[in-house]
């Protein structure tokens, strides 16, 4: 594992972000958040309408980070085997070391065996299929037919779902939403970006041809670097006040779990790293809080308060 100097970190991260920004136009914040999520070793949920560039973004990320990439289109009839893989009897195959042709079961790995998996329209699949993916996300390994197989490292899942509840969807329950470190939505581009989009080349092709900016070793080094970001007592207390508020004061039926809190800290640190800072400031937490908190508390929030992060941030003073 190569240790990176702070200068080269900022340089490689900056060029990564710049490249991604040429593919998805005018969405610097969302791209930063997506990269933050990767640096914080978290899975990403993108919630948006079809055709907003979700797939392009994930494809571009995979290319730019030099990760192997697979896409699973979730449908209502998809089965766990379609995701995880299946053992198939091969008549012509031989047991290793023998020449006899007996025919054996051979495991055909599913699309999940890749470093970056795009799970498209995850809420279209049945809970059974969803849970197959979500288990893999949590454990980093899958067990098929009694045999445990490790997933490649690093292992990221970028899942997309449509916000509009359409017929034949199975919304993810809270426990499974919690597996995603962050949830972002991309949103419509502004006028300038859209005109540029019309004039430019095909973005999908562009994503496919992106050069590799960071190799896996560098990525892992960066992830290691995230842990080195210093969080002072003051900023930790600020974060704790936020978490406490979601649990006991904000009027939510439940608050942010300790796992969510740790995720928030990691995401904020990654955000600080992207901004080339060696210490955490309250603004880092404020920046990542919406994508970390809102999907976790979506069910807990009552009507009229579907943006818990906005509500919480207004009420918690930075200095106690």
């Amino acid at each position: 594992m190569s240790s990176l100097s702070s200068k080269s970190i900022s340089k490689s991260l900056q060029s990564l972000l710049d490249t991604l920004n040429t593919v998805i136009l005018g969405k610097e914040t969302q791209i930063k958040l997506a990269v933050t999520c990767m640096l914080a070793k978290g899975h990403l949920l993108i919630e948006d309408l079809p055709g907003m560039g979700k797939t392009t973004l994930s494809h571009a990320l995979a290319r730019a980070l030099g990760l192997s990439y697979n896409r699973i289109q979730f449908t209502s009839d998809i089965l766990p085997a379609d995701i995880l893989g299946v053992s198939i009897f091969e008549k012509d195959s031989a047991i290793a070391g023998s020449n006899e042709q007996h025919g054996t079961f051979r495991f055909h790995p599913g699309p999940i065996f890749s470093q970056l998996v795009l799970a498209d329209e995850i809420n279209r699949a049945t809970p059974k299929a969803q849970s197959a993916l979500l288990e893999a996300m949590e454990e980093g390994q899958v067990t098929i037919e009694g045999e445990t197989r490790s997933l490649p490292t690093p292992f990221f899942v970028i899942a997309t779902q449509n916000p509009v509840s359409q017929s034949g969807t199975f919304p993810l329950p809270e426990s499974q939403l919690d597996r995603f470190l962050m949830r972002i939505s991309i949103g419509y581009p502004d006028a300038k970006s859209e005109l540029e989009l019309f004039n430019g080349v095909d973005r999908r092709a562009m994503a496919n041809n992106l050069p590799k900016h960071i190799d896996i070793n560098q990525l892992q080094a960066l992830q290691e670097q995230v842990n080195q970001v210093h969080a002072s007592q003051s900023v930790l207390e600020y974060m704790q006040r936020i978490i406490h508020f979601t649990r006991f004061e904000g009027g939510y039926s439940y608050g942010l779990s300790p796992r969510g809190g740790l995720g928030l800290l990691r995401a904020a640190k990654a955000w600080a790293l992207i901004h080339d800072r060696e210490h955490l400031i309250p603004e880092d937490i404020q920046a990542v809080l919406p994508s970390v908190l809102d999907h976790r508390l979506a069910e807990a929030a009552q009507q009229g308060k579907t943006n818990p992060s906005v509500y919480v941030l207004q009420r918690i003073p930075v200095f106690s």
């Binding site: 900023v235 009027g251 210490h279 400031i281 603004e283 308060k305 009420r315 918690i316």
Partner: protein, 684 residues
């Protein structure tokens, strides 16, 4: 700090509770407060609907100035209870316009609790108590409404109902505690007493009687005192409740005035004072007298003080050693048939009781009456016969009884005796004493109350202001002081039945008192209701309002059987209070009082400066965002702002060792203060 907004749903309960608190007070306050109240409630409601804005600073200042001005004008430069009440009422009403946060809601509700207890200063009857209980329930509901979760899915009517239910449960739970505290909590005397009634508002006997005063009292059905006789209740015509003896005669504007002589009478205080032995003809009774802010007490003829703090004067009256700022219950013993000063009276007393003022011109006033006196004196041999002749004069001549006589001309007694011949007790007693004194017979006006209303169920007598009366006492050699009532000669019903029954049909009785149950007493149903209510109130006064230290001690002794236990209760309460006080002080002392570092001080200097430009740092704003904002606002200082706030941020959040920073700390803070001085918006 974090402030929650005032919940919209809480407003309905709050407004209802305001109305509840306001209603009993309005009866005591000038009418303009009603205008303030209605406009505030209407304004607040329009604000709730979003049609009208919150008042801005100018409007607030204007409204406050107007409110204070109105209070001052209606107080007419005097400080009394009404002006203080209207001041606090107006102040708390204006606060309603300002409600924005939950905390404002608390303030208004706590003020309302205070206002509610203020209304007890005016009345303490059972009805107002029950009403207050209701008002407390509404106030508690408003308090609950203030705490209702703003984000719950309940609809407004459900929330309102829930708040009412919750507060009702709270009240029910606290009821036993209230009873225990009422019975057990040590009764301490008031730390200070205040004259709650302004003199103008209070009707009652005054120490100076000019004709017309008592007629004014007949317009009031206010309670004066209640009496419970131990044994048989005497007949109505025997009930002359003596309160004041008016010996001094004066002439003002041609009108005779009688007043209490200024000399301080020798007072025998209980237990040194005279007491009759209980025997036939001696009456024992208990009086519960309402506050008068005077010292006089009431009693029948031949009165004797029966408890500590009460003394007897040489004019056969009992007085309290303190002014009656509160309701007082006391035991009295009377021997109405006793001879008073049979052996003779002191020459000074004789002089006082034969004194007559001259007219301002230095001549004898009321010459016609003087002449009548001379004639009567010559025609009869004994003083008793002369007095009876005066009484006969009233019954022989066509005198009539009216509460609304014409105004008397100069030499009013002449005008009354020979021209108008229509008046009420004050006129009759005044002229009779004048005539008697003209003959040299010692006589005096006694002011007090006559009769009262007997409640047959409970056996107590209720005396109200309209029972006020004045009659005459004459000293006769060999007999002593003897009472005569010239009014009885003219209007016997007034004495035998009481004013209420003798004048029920006349429009002049209680003509100013508006709707009053007494007025309706000719309807049997209402009369029954009135009497029952009166009985209830009597019970209330006797058991609850007069539950004083002595009664509490007796009750505890009865229950616990031991004096030690009740005293130890006092000690326990004292201990509790002390511990509570100390704990409060300790907690106040312990309040986090963080020492601020130089950097924090410098930052607050900068914040204060920015506050002037409305650019102050928000509580939820980090330093980086603050820096961004300031850089935009002050482009010419962009670099120094960025540099300094960057350093500040590192001071708070970076990993660098605190020690190295401490050296820089003072430097940074000086620079920040310098920056704060430099920053100026160009267009200001």
């Amino acid at each position: 700090m974090i402030q929650n907004n005032f919940p919209r749903n809480g407003l309905i309960w709050l407004l209802v509770s305001l109305i509840c608190v306001y209603l009993p007070l309005q009866a005591q306050l000038p009418l303009w407060t009603a205008l303030v109240f209605i406009s505030v409630v209407a304004w607040r409601w329009m604000m709730h609907l979003g049609r009208w804005p919150y008042p801005n600073k100018l409007v607030k200042v204007l409204v406050v100035v107007l409110g204070v001005g109105a209070v001052l004008v209606s107080a007419q430069g005097q400080f009394h209870l009404e002006s203080a009440t209207s001041f606090i009422l107006v102040a708390s009403l204006l606060k309603v316009l300002e409600i924005k946060t939950q905390r404002d809601g608390y303030i208004v509700i706590f003020l309302s609790f205070f206002l509610l207890s203020i209304s007890f200063l005016y009345a303490q009857g059972i009805l107002i108590t029950l009403y207050s209980l209701f008002a407390v329930w509404v106030l508690m509901s408003a308090l609950v409404g203030l705490h209702q979760n703003q984000y719950s899915e309940q609809s407004t009517p459900v929330r309102i109902k829930t708040a009412g239910k919750t507060s009702f449960q709270i009240l029910l739970l606290s009821l036993p505690l209230m009873l225990i505290l009422f019975i057990l909590f040590p009764r301490m005397g008031p730390l200070w007493s205040l004259n709650l009634q302004s003199d103008k508002a209070k009707t009652g006997l005054s120490e100076q009687m000019s004709p017309g005063d008592i007629a004014e009292l007949s317009n009031s059905d206010e309670l004066v005192f209640r009496v419970a006789f131990k044994d048989k209740v005497p007949a109505n015509h025997q009930l002359y409740w003596r309160a004041l003896v008016l010996e001094k005669h004066q002439i003002t504007n041609g009108q005779s005035q009688w007043s209490v002589s200024k000399k301080v009478p020798p007072i025998d205080w209980y237990p040194k004072s005279w007491q009759p032995e209980p025997k036939d003809g001696v009456l024992d009774y208990t009086i519960i007298q309402e506050a008068t802010s005077k010292k006089w007490l009431v009693g029948l003829r031949g009165v004797a003080a029966m408890e500590k703090g009460i003394g007897m004067t040489d004019t056969d009256l009992i007085v309290s050693n303190k002014k009656l700022h509160q309701r007082k219950e006391y035991e009295v013993r009377s021997w109405p048939s006793m001879d008073i000063a049979k052996q003779g009276i002191h020459s000074l007393t004789r002089q006082q009781n034969t004194q007559l003022s001259l007219s301002p011109q230095g001549t004898i006033s009321n010459p016609q009456s003087y002449l009548l006196a001379q004639t009567l004196y010559r025609n009869h041999n004994t003083d008793l016969a002369r007095v009876e002749a005066v009484m006969a004069y009233f019954s022989d001549q066509p005198f009539s009884y009216t509460l609304k006589p014409q105004r008397m001309a100069e030499n009013d007694i002449d005008d009354f005796l020979f021209n108008q011949q229509a008046g009420f007790c004050a006129h009759y007693s005044s002229s009779m004493v004048f005539v008697l004194r003209s003959m040299g017979i010692p006589a005096r006006v006694v002011a007090g109350y006559q009769g009262g209303e007997l409640n047959k169920e409970s056996g107590h007598i209720t005396v109200r202001q309209y029972d006020a009366h004045a009659w005459v006492e004459v000293w006769l050699a060999g007999i002593g002081w003897k009472s005569f009532d010239p009014t009885a000669q003219v209007a016997p019903d007034r004495i035998n039945l009481g004013l209420r029954d003798s004048l029920t049909d006349q429009a002049e009785f209680l003509s100013n008192s508006g709707l009053s149950l007494t007025k309706l007493s000719s309807f049997p149903l209402f009369n029954q209701l009135r009497l029952q209510l009166d009985e209830l109130n009597y019970f209330w006064h006797q058991t609850v309002l007069n539950f004083n230290k002595q009664r509490q001690g007796n009750l505890l002794k009865k229950w616990l059987g031991n004096d030690f236990l009740s005293t130890s209760l006092y000690w326990l309460a004292g201990l509790f209070c002390t511990v509570f006080l100390l704990l409060t002080l300790f907690l106040l002392w312990q309040r986090p009082n963080k020492k601020r570092s130089p950097i924090e001080k410098a930052l607050s200097v900068l914040d204060k400066k920015m506050h002037r430009y409305q650019l102050q740092r928000q509580a939820n704003e980090g330093l980086a965002d603050y820096s961004q904002r300031l850089q935009l606002a002050f482009p010419e200082h962009k670099d120094s702002i960025r540099r300094l706030l960057q350093q500040l941020q590192e001071h708070y959040y970076s990993k660098q060792k605190a020690q190295t920073l401490r050296e820089k700390e003072s430097k940074i803070s000086i620079q920040i203060k310098g920056l704060a001085g430099k920053l100026k918006l160009k267009d200001q």
